[in-house]
Each structure stands twice: as structure tokens, then as C-alpha cells.
């Protein structure tokens, strides 16, 4: 790891100002991606601004069917939240399968959604639920937030503070996990929301997480795994890597989508 300077922020404003004075600063949440990336010398920020101790970013609240998850909330806390489970068990299930128990006790939802790894689990939930990404400056609809591989609508110093969504009528998540890393080789989040059916796919798209219109239409007409039988998944914009080629992922999308609908009930 190259040398870096660590700063611990105690408020969002302090974090923004620390980032402003840094030459090439990066925000640090749980660090479950960033520290590993720095160890491999794939990232070398001059300064790290630790957001983990900012109380404004902590906490889960469920009011009626509105769920708000603070950015610093760890995966383990989402997985075990009875309040969230009561209205949207699918996101608890998703969180309980991220990485391993130790990673889930450090990694945060804000870090994952800000990083937007194309194989991460959370982006599919955020997009699939039609959630709102709340930052220190504005609220960004999920449909406008994910802009590409590791790319989001976040500006240079903007800080993701919370994920907010209306609990869906039904939702489910299924992933085909890479056997070594547990990242999604393909993961599909399906949700029946007030605004319609949404299907979001992670781990497969060449441009990161995406919605699948054909599946959404089929499930709007009939909410059942069999409704997806006739849907064609085009492999042309899917990833090919050492683990799976685009055709394989196209098939996985369909299989995972069916499993997700079956889980949603």
C-alpha cells in the first residue's frame, strides 16, 4: 500500500471540508473494497476521510412503509433488522448473503452503493426498489443514480447519507454467487411496487446494474416464475470474463429472476 493520510470526520460538513483540502482524497466507509484495492496498489488516495464515526449517517428507521437506511449501516445490521424484515424481508435476505460474516460486520450500504461495483448486491436492490439515494446535497432517484461501471451520479465531494424507499408489495432477490468471492456472477432483484414491477440485474451487465424491460412487462402481466419462460434475454450487452461468458450470464439472469419471483411469493 502506498502512503496515505487518515482523517476521521465527526460530521458530514467536516468530511466535505477535509476532502476539499486533500490533494487526491477518498471517502472511507467500512473499507471492505477500498482497503483491499489500496493493498493491491490499484488505488492510492493521498488522504482517506473516514465516515464511519459520523452519527448523522447511522441508523435505520421504518415509518409506515417508508424505510430509511443510514449510509453507515452495516450489512449485518440490515440483515438482522426486525423493523425492515417486517416490511421488506428481501433486502435483509440480500444483505445476509454479501461477502462473509466478517465483511458484513464492517461493510456498509453507503459504501457499497457509492462504489457501485458491477457485481455488488446492493445496487440491484436500490434500483429494483426504485429507491431514492439521499446525499448531503440532494435526493437522486435510483433510475438516475447508476451511470456505469463504478460510476454514479455522485459528484466529487458529495456524500451519500441514506437510502430511502417505500416497501414494495412483494420483492425477492436471488444470486448466483462466485464460489470464491461471493460477489454476484448474476443477481436479480424483483419487486412489485406501487409504481409497477421492477426487475434489476447486477453482476451481469457490461455497464453495471440495469433494469430488464421484457421481464418487467411479463411479470406485470402475470406475477409468477413461469411468466418469464417466454422472455428473451439478449446477451449482447452482458459481461464476459473468466468466470462466465455473456450467453451463460443471459441464462443465469432468467434462472435467477425466476428464483427471485419464487422467493417473493
Amino acid at each position: 500500500m502506498y502512503a496515505t493520510s487518515y482523517h476521521r470526520a465527526s460530521s458530514v460538513d467536516e468530511a466535505v471540508s477535509l476532502r476539499g483540502t486533500a490533494e487526491d482524497g477518498k471517502y472511507l466507509a467500512g473499507g471492505m473494497t477500498l482497503i483491499s484495492t489500496m493493498k493491491q496498489r490499484l488505488a492510492a488516495p493521498s488522504d482517506l476521510i473516514d465516515l464511519r464515526h459520523i452519527s448523522q449517517l447511522a441508523g435505520i428507521s421504518v415509518e409506515g412503509r417508508t424505510v430509511r437506511i443510514g449510509a453507515a449501516t452495516r450489512h449485518a445490521d440490515v440483515a438482522s433488522s426486525q423493523a425492515i424484515r417486517a416490511v421488506c424481508p428481501a433486502i435483509c435476505d440480500l444483505a445476509s448473503h454479501i461477502g462473509d460474516p466478517h465483511v458484513r460486520q464492517m461493510g456498509t450500504i453507503g459504501g457499497s452503493v457509492a462504489n457501485n461495483d458491477p457485481a455488488a448486491d446492493y445496487p440491484s436492490a436500490v434500483l429494483g426498489l426504485g429507491a431514492t439515494v439521499v446525499t448531503n446535497q440532494r435526493s437522486i432517484p435510483a433510475d438516475d443514480y447508476f451511470t456505469g461501471l463504478f460510476e454514479t451520479a455522485l459528484e466529487e465531494r458529495e456524500i451519500l447519507t441514506a437510502i430511502v424507499f417505500e416497501a414494495p408489495e412483494k420483492a425477492g432477490y436471488a444470486k448466483f454467487a462466485n464460489p470464491a468471492s461471493r460477489y454476484a456472477m448474476t443477481g436479480v432483484f424483483v419487486a412489485k411496487t406501487a409504481g409497477g414491477v421492477r426487475v434489476a440485474v447486477t453482476g451481469a451487465g457490461a455497464g453495471g446494474v440495469f433494469r430488464h424491460a421484457g421481464m418487467e412487462q411479463a411479470l406485470s402481466a402475470q406475477w409468477s416464475p413461469d411468466a418469464l419462460n417466454a422472455v428473451a434475454v439478449d446477451p449482447s450487452n452482458l459481461m464476459t470474463d473468466m468466470h462466465a461468458d455473456a450467453d451463460y450470464r443471459a441464462n443465469l439472469i432468467k434462472v435467477m429472476a425466476k428464483r427471485a419471483v419464487a422467493k417473493a411469493g
Binding site: 487518515y6 473499507g31 471492505m32 462473509d100
Partner: protein, 162 residues
């Protein structure tokens, strides 16, 4: 250089280190507690698992400065007055180790697992919970047996205390 202050195994410690120093290196090099191992250094093997503020974490993927202010428990802090922790005793009883390299991480993981889900562990749950720990010798069978045995014994102990 930054001063890192920790409570390690109940004892207040502090030391100077570069901001880029990993917590596991701080524990091993600065504090001389070499029971915590570095296996893969890529967050996969779990040899470096310790408890930070009561939760298991991988100390090879956390900077020492990030951990400053927290309470750390390492494998050295598990046994009291020379008595093995029930999980350590179960690993010995069930031969839950061969070369022993992964064992500190396995034991710390098992203790965390029992802290969180104690009394309700099944073979399937234990195997799933061990997802972040790799053992290249045992094939896991005896590790799983040891964790289940320790869980049962600790649950019985809790019941007796009630």
C-alpha cells in the same frame, strides 16, 4: 506517524504507526501478539479474524488508525487464567485442527458465531457462517463438530446459570 490507542484484551495500549499500517500488522509487530495470523492478505482466508468492539472482523483489511479507540480481542485474550475458552477446548477435543494456521481465526469466528446465534446453531448454519474462513487441512468436518459441541456446552452453561 499517528498514535493509535486501543484496548487490547482488556489492556489499554498505544503505539505510533504509519497511517497505512494494517491492524493485523499493528497487533503482530507493534504489540507482539502473533497469535493472529496473516494467511492470504486479500480478505478471503479469515486467519486474521479478531473481534473489534465485540464483532468479528478481518484485521488484514482494516487500518490500525481506523480501529483507534476501539476494544480489540485477539486469540490471546480468549482464555482466562490459563483455562481454555470452551471453543478452544472443543477444538482440542474434536481435533478441529491439523497444521493450526487457520485456527486462531476459526476460533474467533466460532466465538462470534456463538455470541450472535448461540443455542440455535446447526451444521448447515455453522458451514454457512464459516464462509469467510479457509482451512486447507481438515476438510472442515471436525471444525464444524467442534463449533457445534462448544455451542451446546455454552448453551448448557447459560441454562445452568439461569
Amino acid at each position: 506517524m499517528t498514535t493509535v490507542t486501543l484496548t487490547v484484551n482488556g489492556r489499554a495500549v498505544s503505539g505510533e504507526c504509519e497511517d497505512r499500517m494494517l491492524l493485523v500488522d499493528f497487533i503482530r509487530v507493534k504489540l507482539g501478539l502473533t497469535g493472529t495470523h496473516v494467511g492470504c492478505d486479500t480478505t478471503q482466508c479469515g486467519s486474521c479474524v479478531i473481534h473489534m468492539d465485540g464483532l468479528s472482523v478481518k484485521s488484514c483489511s482494516i487500518l490500525a488508525v481506523q480501529a483507534s479507540g476501539s476494544a480489540i480481542t485477539t486469540i490471546e485474550g480468549l482464555s482466562a487464567q490459563g483455562e481454555m475458552h470452551p471453543v478452544q477446548a472443543a477444538f482440542k477435543e474434536h481435533h478441529g485442527l491439523q497444521c493450526g494456521f487457520c485456527t486462531p481465526g476459526m476460533v474467533m469466528t466460532a466465538v462470534d458465531m456463538i455470541n450472535r446465534r448461540g443455542g440455535s446453531l446447526t451444521e448447515e448454519v455453522v458451514r454457512t457462517e464459516l464462509e469467510g474462513n479457509i482451512c486447507r487441512c481438515t476438510g472442515y468436518h471436525n471444525i464444524v463438530k467442534a463449533v457445534l459441541s462448544a455451542d451446546a456446552e455454552m448453551a448448557a452453561g447459560r441454562q445452568a446459570a439461569e
